[in-house]
């Protein structure tokens, strides 16, 4: 299946569970970043039945990650991609995983996400988020990109929303709560944002984009 095919299929009827399962099982989502956003979104996608994920991250699991990221104490020091892959395969041994333990850059990003039907930006630094949005929106303008911005702190989780910012660019968050303002990253609010990202991806795969 070539890129975009899944997202351009006719919408899956909401009450047709076999069709929903079949569509998700044949879908491929790439996650650029496997930290607070990416690790939690990946688990939700696998539990929902998405058949193939690409995991991209250069980092290793540190103790400071355990407050919000889907890793465990016995995984400290492991590459996040490999640790996450182990956990995802415990959820579904049949999931197909493409693992890239490397830093996503302007030069390699398009090759890393390959032929994913939907791409999730799950980075932490603002510069990296902008790079991912700019590179992918420019070079893969028709592949849906789901990004997150504004999820730090403990303001109401109801402020975190999903909106369609461009033709194929979806934005999750409150757009303003910035780690650089010394706001803490709280598991519950980070996971709300990651759930939004996973859910937008699932809706896109099922042919039901946000308006």
């Amino acid at each position: 299946m070539t890129p975009r095919d899944t997202c351009s299929l006719p919408p899956t009827p909401p009450n047709d569970d076999p069709a929903v399962r079949a569509r998700l099982a044949s879908s491929h989502v790439a996650l650029v970043g496997c930290g607070g956003l990416g690790s939690n979104a990946a688990s939700m996608l696998v539990r929902a039945g998405v058949g193939e994920l690409t995991l991209i991250d250069f980092d290793v699991v540190e103790e400071s990650n355990l407050n919000r990221q889907l890793f465990f104490r016995d995984q400290l020091g492991l590459p996040k991609t490999e640790a996450l892959a182990t956990t995802l395969r415990r959820i579904n041994p049949d999931v197909t995983l493409r693992i890239h333990t490397t830093c996503a850059t302007e030069a390699n990003l398009v090759g890393l996400v390959d032929d994913a039907d939907v791409i999730i930006e799950a980075a932490d630094r603002a510069e990296t988020k902008a790079m991912i949005a700019n590179v992918l929106s420019e070079r893969l303008p028709d592949t849906p990109l789901v990004a997150a911005s504004g999820l730090a702190g403990f303001a109401s989780a109801n402020e975190i929303v999903t909106e369609r910012f461009g033709e194929a660019f979806y934005l999750v968050g409150d757009l303003r709560s910035d780690v650089r303002d010394e706001l803490p990253l709280i598991a519950s609010r980070v996971m709300v944002a990651s759930a939004h990202e996973a859910h937008v991806a699932i809706r896109l795969l099922l042919g039901h984009p946000e308006p």
Binding site: G35, A123, A126, S137, A148, G166, L175, R176
Partner: protein
């Protein structure tokens, strides 16, 4: 020419009318203005940003046209 300008998050304070808010407003520009010219005109800070014109990504050297919908969004850190 006129374009519709929407500035998101903290960039909204740079709307020429000083009213803030993310809703789009008409901006009068010389013909053949580029996105980089708008950024300079508004005095936007040199921070990461994502720019869309009519729902599609556009680079800073993109030449704007009458009626274009220009949206500028600054990602913030955290993940």
């Amino acid at each position: 020419m006129k374009v519709d300008l929407a500035l998101f998050a903290y960039l909204s304070q740079y709307q020429p009318d000083g009213m803030g808010g993310r809703h789009p407003r008409a901006l009068e520009l010389p013909d053949q203005s580029r996105i980089a010219d708008v950024i300079e005109l508004l005095g936007l800070p040199d921070q990461p940003r994502v720019v869309f014109v009519n729902g599609r990504h556009a680079p800073d050297d993109h030449v704007l046209a009458e009626g274009d919908r220009l949206a500028i969004f600054p990602p913030v850190a955290g993940g």
